[in-house]
């Protein structure tokens, strides 16, 4: 770790963590940092739960025959999908890292509406627990996509309760988005102009817009689904003059932009990490910032690429295909920008940077295989197969989860005041990278061979690839579990971090670790752009320090 922090620093006396005592002071807090911690704990538990369902899926698929009952398998992959999407991927980076960092990064004392922020967490928990209780009572078997008419007229499972949970969690997204947008507009410290905003803040801003505009649509869709199931309204029921494909349009009109709710914040995190560990301003700052907005806006226009074989008109398919290719370009450009940022940097390879580099590699494959899916003639063959499963895991896990973990490691010293053991951090990052590729790469081939998704038994010729995939998942699971242990360990035994253990730029590193309740002792005044790094100067300072250390010996 740069700047040898071991034992040199002392913990600040009062921090947001010890400013008040007792469980009540946490459950009634308005402090965005405490709320972030509440989210961190609940989201970690949900992630573990989603992981257990993933393990069930992979164990079933180890052999071609049935090991679990069909019913149970269907409920397991549905639970896996719902938990991962609605309870982990969508809230993870905004609710944990965004909540903790956004106000600090712009030099504010809190979010614009602290109580609304607390309400968001309660909405999330109530919705999450309702959905979980549905799972405990027996679960849902519709897949997380809830396609009608199966979900409305045929499924004998807890569709209504699950939907209610998702509906309520949606309001958590909406209030968080609203809070972030207003905070970014109104609460920036003096001197924090839009062109000095950290890219993480830009990405949160763009994400919040998507949350605000998109989430109401899924809320309406869920209400229609419930009305259809309970009262037999007939909007989606062909026997009553409805249209099942309409449901798919409504569903994906939200759920495609939701992919950007997951990925944009991840891109924001990666921009921060790359800049900090290569000591460079992100190459093409303004393009990276505006491409977030561009992706957010154009992301609303491509939902129909999930419906190429659904019976929608072929001409609609062509338009959606074209738009999908175009919306891919800003993402491609970001990858090049990050790579170029390394050029002439002064790069070091601590755990967060390993995650950032892993991100670029996995996101490149996730993005490029997206072209396969957008390509009409090819998608007809691969849609609804394991190729799609592989593609979206590369994007959602390879990008969102990896960036989330990278971010957690990077800001851990800020959040807790302590550093974790680098060796274990690096080892787990590498295990995750290897395990991930071993799990999901074979699924591209499996999908092209024709193995459909949501199959609990399959023809025997698909077994080799499934065995590889399950083996990879075991490695991946170990990689995911390691941080739980060493991060918890570090809470008590980790060396005290000091305000800026990485020597990074950004307002969050100018206050104590952990920060005081109001973030800064005095409102900061911003005089320079984000990432005012000078790799050349920092490198010579580093060299000089090295020389000195040598002489001292």
């Amino acid at each position: 770790m740069p700047g040898a922090t071991n034992g040199v620093f002392e913990m600040p006396k009062t921090t947001y963590i010890n400013a008040q005592e007792g469980i009540k002071s946490w459950l009634l807090t308005g402090d965005h940092k405490r709320i972030a911690i509440l989210y961190l704990i609940s989201i970690s538990i949900f992630f573990a739960l989603g992981g257990i369902f993933a393990a069930l899926i992979r164990i079933e698929l180890l052999t071609p025959g049935p090991d679990l009952e069909a019913e149970m398998y269907n409920r397991a992959f549905t639970a896996h999908g719902i938990v991962m999407v609605f309870m982990f991927l969508i809230p993870a980076i905004p609710a944990v890292l965004g909540n903790f960092l956004l106000p600090i990064m712009i030099g504010a004392r809190d979010l614009a509406f602290p109580k609304v922020n607390l309400l968001s967490w309660y909405l999330y928990m109530i919705g999450g627990l309702l959905t979980l209780s549905a799972m405990l009572m027996g679960g849902v078997d519709t897949g997380w996509t809830f396609y009608t008419p199966y979900s409305t007229s045929y499924s004998q499972s807890y569709v209504f309760l699950t939907g209610l949970g998702i509906f309520i969690m949606g309001f958590s997204s909406i209030t968080t988005g609203l809070n972030f947008v207003i905070t970014t507009h109104k609460m920036r410290a003096p001197g924090m102009t839009w062109s000095r905003l950290p890219l993480f803040v830009w990405s949160q801003y763009a994400t919040s817009l998507v949350m605000l505009l998109g989430t109401p649509v899924i809320a309406i869709t869920v209400v229609l689904l419930a009305a259809e199931r309970v009262f037999g309204v007939g909007v989606f029921n062909p026997n009553l003059g409805g249209d099942p494909v309409l449901f798919q349009h409504l569903f994906w009109f939200y759920s495609h932009p939701a992919v950007y709710i997951m990925v944009l914040p991840a891109m924001g995190v990666i921009s921060e990490l790359i800049a900090a560990f290569s000591r460079r301003r992100v190459f093409g700052y303004s393009f990276v910032a505006f491409s977030s907005l561009a992706i957010a806006i154009f992301g609303f226009l491509v939902w129909g690429h999930h419906l190429f074989v659904s019976g929608q008109s072929a001409y609609a398919g062509i338009i959606f295909s074209l738009l999908s290719f175009i919306v891919a370009i800003p993402s491609a450009v970001k990858v090049f920008n990050w790579t170029t940022t390394l050029y002439k940097g002064s790069i070091s390879y601590e755990t967060p940077m390993l995650y950032a580099l892993a991100f670029i590699g996995l996101f490149a494959i996730g993005g490029l295989t997206g072209l396969f899916c957008a390509a009409l003639g090819l998608d007809v063959h691969i849609t609804d197969t394991y190729f799609i499963i592989a593609h979206f895991h590369y994007v959602m896990v390879g990008a969102t989860v990896i960036a989330y973990l990278g971010g957690i490691h990077y800001w851990w010293p800020k959040m807790t005041g302590r550093t974790y053991p680098e060796f274990w951090g690096k080892l787990s990052a590498m295990l995750i990278y290897v395990g991930f590729n071993l799990t999901f790469f074979p699924q591209f081939i499996l999908g092209y061979l024709g193995m459909p998704r949501r199959y609990h038994v399959y023809p025997p010729e698909y077994q080799v690839l499934n065995v590889l995939s399950t083996a990879g998942a075991s490695v991946l699971a170990i990689g995911f579990m390691m941080p739980v242990f060493y991060l918890l360990w570090s809470l008590k035994f980790g060396p005290v971090a000091g305000p800026n253990p990485w020597g990074a730029k950004g307002l969050e590193w100018e206050t104590a670790s952990p920060p005081p309740t109001l973030n800064f002792d005095a409102t900061p005044i911003v005089t320079e752009e984000a990432y005012a790094y000078d790799a050349e100067a920092e490198e010579s300072a580093y060299q000089a320090a090295l020389q000195q250390a040598k002489h001292a010996k």
Binding site: P238, V309, A535, E539
Partner: protein, 332 residues
């Protein structure tokens, strides 16, 4: 079982084209992934902290460079888009001379009917080298008829007709999967498509007609149009839709494929979906000059019977023709 294939068999005229695009895209993916990988590796080694290197005048932006990596991916994307769309046109437009088979999806089985009238469950025998179109609908939820070896699939929807077509180039047995999640036994909603040499197929048809297949032996020798004619009398359709002029109801000869003017002045094309709706829910669209007197047959006629009736109506092209001397498109 333990070999490791990378691609399914290429058994249709489209398969090769889809595979070519697929391989091209993997080439592209490999190229860009390696490019990024190598760049990162070079920078990572060269500019590692503590390593002496020239770090002066590091660029913050370079609009020319950025323009290059906007324009190049865009150009490549457009090429792929054009290529993939041309394949798609071929996949979704059945050739005019395609022989029409029927399929009904139902939790959890596939029911097929050939133009010669042969019914099968979860098995579909087809001749090699012929354009074959499968028109399909569902009796319950969404399904999806997927032929990996032919590189094509399409969703099967309740209340609507969709279709897939292919031209098999290889004899043999290939997978049929349901690719749209449809409930508990979704993964058992599978079947086999058996591609035969045309003469072998002919022999199979005649031998099977003797009635070894368990169900529906009585109509195994009927073509869908003939079955439709039988149903037409059985359900009493002919009482209203009789003769060329029609009595209570419009004549059905030559209706299929024409433009029909409705009571409200709208014009609709009389396609499969229109026919189906007119049979099951007849009051939805009333033809100009007629009354809404026809009963709704919803709940009384199965999806297969509807398909047979449509095949019969379709066969009545040109006035005065009878079902016997006109059979569905493409049948010799």
């Amino acid at each position: 079982m333990w070999e490791l294939p990378l691609m399914p068999q290429q058994a249709s005229t489209i398969a090769e084209k889809v595979d070519a695009l697929y391989l091209f895209l993997w080439g592209l993916t490999a190229f860009f992934t390696l490019l990024i990988f190598v760049l990162i590796l070079v920078f990572a080694v060269k500019y590692k902290r503590g390593k002496v290197a020239d770090r002066s005048n590091a660029p913050d932006t370079d609009h020319k460079l950025e323009a290059v990596w906007i324009v190049v991916p865009l150009a490549i994307s457009l090429v792929i888009f054009g290529w993939a769309t041309s394949i798609f046109f071929e996949q979704v437009r059945p050739p005019a001379d395609a022989v029409e088979y029927f399929a009904t999806g139902k939790q959890w089985m596939w029911k097929f009917q050939s133009p010669e009238g042969k019914r099968e469950v979860n098995e579909l025998h087809v001749p090699k080298g012929r354009n074959i179109k499968v028109t399909m609908t569902s009796e319950d939820v969404l399904h999806d008829l997927f032929f990996p070896a032919f590189r094509t699939k399409a969703d099967v929807l309740p209340g609507r007709y969709t279709n897939v077509w292919f031209n098999a180039t290889k004899t043999g047995t290939f997978h049929i999967f349901c690719a749209e999640y449809c409930g508990m036994q979704h993964s058992l909603m599978i079947g086999k498509v058996i591609v035969m040499e045309p003469d072998e197929y002919e022999r199979w048809l005649t031998s099977a007609a003797s009635g070894t297949a368990g169900q529906a032996t009585a109509d195994a020798s009927e073509t869908p149009a003939q079955a439709g004619e039988r149903l037409f009398t059985q359900y009493g359709c002919q009482t209203c839709h009789q003769g060329a002029s029609g009595t209570l109801g419009p004549s059905l000869a030559g209706v299929y494929g024409s433009e029909v003017e409705l009571q409200n002045g709208e014009k609709v094309k009389a396609d499969d979906d229109y026919m189906r709706e007119s049979i099951l829910n007849s009051s939805a669209k009333i033809v100009k000059g007629y009354q809404a007197v026809m009963p709704n047959f919803k709940g009384q006629i199965s999806e297969e019977e509807v398909m047979n009736l449509i095949a019969y109506i379709k066969a009545q092209q040109g006035s005065g023709a009878t079902a016997q001397n006109l059979t569905p498109t493409g049948k010799r």
